[in-house]
Symmetry: C2
Subunit: 355 residues, 2 copies
């Protein structure tokens, strides 16, 4: 082995030794913090968000910011597990984007509980079977996941985090190629995200909406004349051949997930607050409710209306705005909205996702 290579390897060895000492010290401190906090939860979403942000900003390369985030989240996950391992309910089965989102946010030292539907994710936390639920709430192309919005209005759970996951749809089938495809399976949202591509390349092919992309993959594995949409992971998991990658109509297709727990998060310095308001179908009603936010100079990243399921008002407005509910500016605006609104529920304040 030449001298140059030897020197590089010696430097890697001393780096690894230093990392070992630092990670060990970090885990020891995490234990002390756990004791200092006196029975408080070890998982502090605002604290982890601050750490991730600082390291992403300081990242000198060559590793990507996403890789740095992944490694530090795994280190935090390992240190956390010295004291406790969070149980996280998510929309199963395995191979779904939701499972990827769980590990993106909590690392791998986590008990990930695959639930059969979004309702079961909420129930898992409400009954204490899980510490957190991670549920999809909106897709950048297709909009809101209605069931999550409906459940969150009634639930006692609070939003304590968000996860943004870039979603790339892959078309896959048992054997490759577009020839002979009779039907395309996919979750309704996935089919919707790819409708232009499907109309162009598979114009006369039936589109079958199934309960999840995993179910589509399972069927496509058994039906050579079928294809399915889903994550590339699903192709690996179910032994399918990739026909075409990135068939989504919008390249920046992203799904936003919410982390729900018994409480929301403390301020992290860059937060979002979600709220829902009830309004009657009267001219100017919505403007009146949103005016306090505008007056305070608070920007909204999301506004979504849905028909109310209760009869006391006709519409519900879901708002995501910038800031934490404990910050004076937002607190003032919320107090003003509360005075005007027939119904106001603050769903939680939580750190904005870094990516």
């Amino acid at each position: 082995m030449d001298e140059g290579l030897k020197a590089l390897r010696a430097r890697i060895d001393s780096i690894d030794d230093a990392i070992l000492q630092l990670v060990s010290e970090r885990a020891g401190i995490a234990q002390q913090v756990g004791r200092a906090k006196n029975g408080e939860k070890i998982y502090r979403p605002e604290r982890e968000a601050q750490i991730v942000r600082r390291l992403r900003e300081a990242n000198p390369g060559p590793l990507s910011g996403d890789t740095i985030e992944r490694l530090i989240r795994e280190i935090m996950s390992a240190c956390r597990a010295v004291e406790e391992t969070p149980h996280v309910a998510y929309l199963g089965p395995v191979g779904t984007f939701s499972q990827q989102a769980v590990h993106k946010h909590f690392g791998h030292e986590v008990e990930a509980l695959a639930e059969t539907d979004i309702d079961a994710c909420f129930q898992a936390v409400e009954t204490g079977r899980a510490d957190f639920a991670l549920v999809p709430v909106e897709n950048s192309t297709e909009g809101a996941i209605g069931r999550t919005l409906d459940l969150i209005v009634e639930s006692t759970l609070k939003i304590c985090g968000e996860v943004m996951l870039p979603i790339h749809q892959t078309l896959m089938r048992k054997h490759g190629g577009l020839g002979g495809i009779q039907r395309v399976y996919g979750h309704a949202q996935s089919l919707a995200q790819c409708q232009q591509w499907l109309s162009r390349h598979l114009p006369n092919v039936e589109r079958v909406s199934v309960v999840s992309n995993s179910e589509g993959a399972r069927r496509a594995a058994a039906e050579p004349d079928a294809a399915t949409l889903g994550s590339e992971t699903a192709a690996e998991l179910y032994g399918l051949t990739v026909v075409e990658k990135r068939v989504e109509d919008e390249a920046s297709n992203t799904t936003r997930f919410l982390v729900l727990g018994q409480t929301d998060a403390a301020p992290s310095g860059r937060d979002k607050t979600s709220l829902v308001m009830g309004a009657h179908n009267q001219p100017g009603a919505v403007v009146k409710l949103l005016q306090p936010l505008a007056d305070a100079g608070i920007s909204m990243s999301k506004l979504e209306s849905r028909p109310a399921r209760s009869s006391n008002w006709e519409y519900l407005f879901f708002v995501v705005c910038e800031g934490h509910r404990e910050e004076a500016k937002l607190a003032g605006a919320l107090a003003e909205i509360k005075a005007r609104a027939a119904f106001l529920k603050i769903l939680g304040s939580y750190p904005a996702a870094s990516s």
Copy 2:
């Protein structure tokens, strides 16, 4: 926040900054090594084994040696991926112990290809679709996986690594409790590993052998009067309730996996070598073949005979012995065996697993 907690958090921040700098420098060096090696593979099993061993030995706690190994393998995985991401074929579907073994060995920056059977894992590497295959070869309770041994005799692939995975069998079903279970699904090996427990607690219940524990979990999810054996992960993945953990008859139940590639590994300082010999069914034939190992003082960790599929000799003997084939002592013994054996094939030398 009290001052003590503040100080601990400040120390964590400076630790994280230091880890960021070290990991980034490490990735930069990995790039230089990649160039220095002039097109050689970035993945060096002997080098990674040495790093893992050194850090496990130096580990001051409180993190376990297994956690330290997991973190450093993730860091190596991330640094490796700056240059290339290995493609690893394994025995699918998802949720199998094989998939856990892939990530235990290669970290998560890997393309894990789920294959339908062990044959397909070999083919994936032989045809260049994958860089490595990871296949089960023996279980501490139940012994050898015959198909892997049969294939490895014919294949041009070499063993370049081993992975030891502790296997805990969990009994699970749709709703909890032992009452009303009519049948228990499981892979044949899993059923065999739990036969005493099953005979004691479910004496009159049918045992149904299925292609994988994942398949058992899939069925148990749909049949409330059935249970299945498998990993706890599978309970999460398929929404089953855990009836009883650790139902395996032997607490130290471990499965050994082999990593197969185009070449074996260079010496790491603590290695194993696998070989297969053909022998005729004559008195003393086996002793004569093994004598050179005994004479050289080389210990064997495994000896397994199988009927030969070719007619040139009656039996094949699979041997795992300590040392690397390039080390003088073992090289001498192997030369002596070669002179005596009707058939000798060295399957590869590779680093012994640390756990």
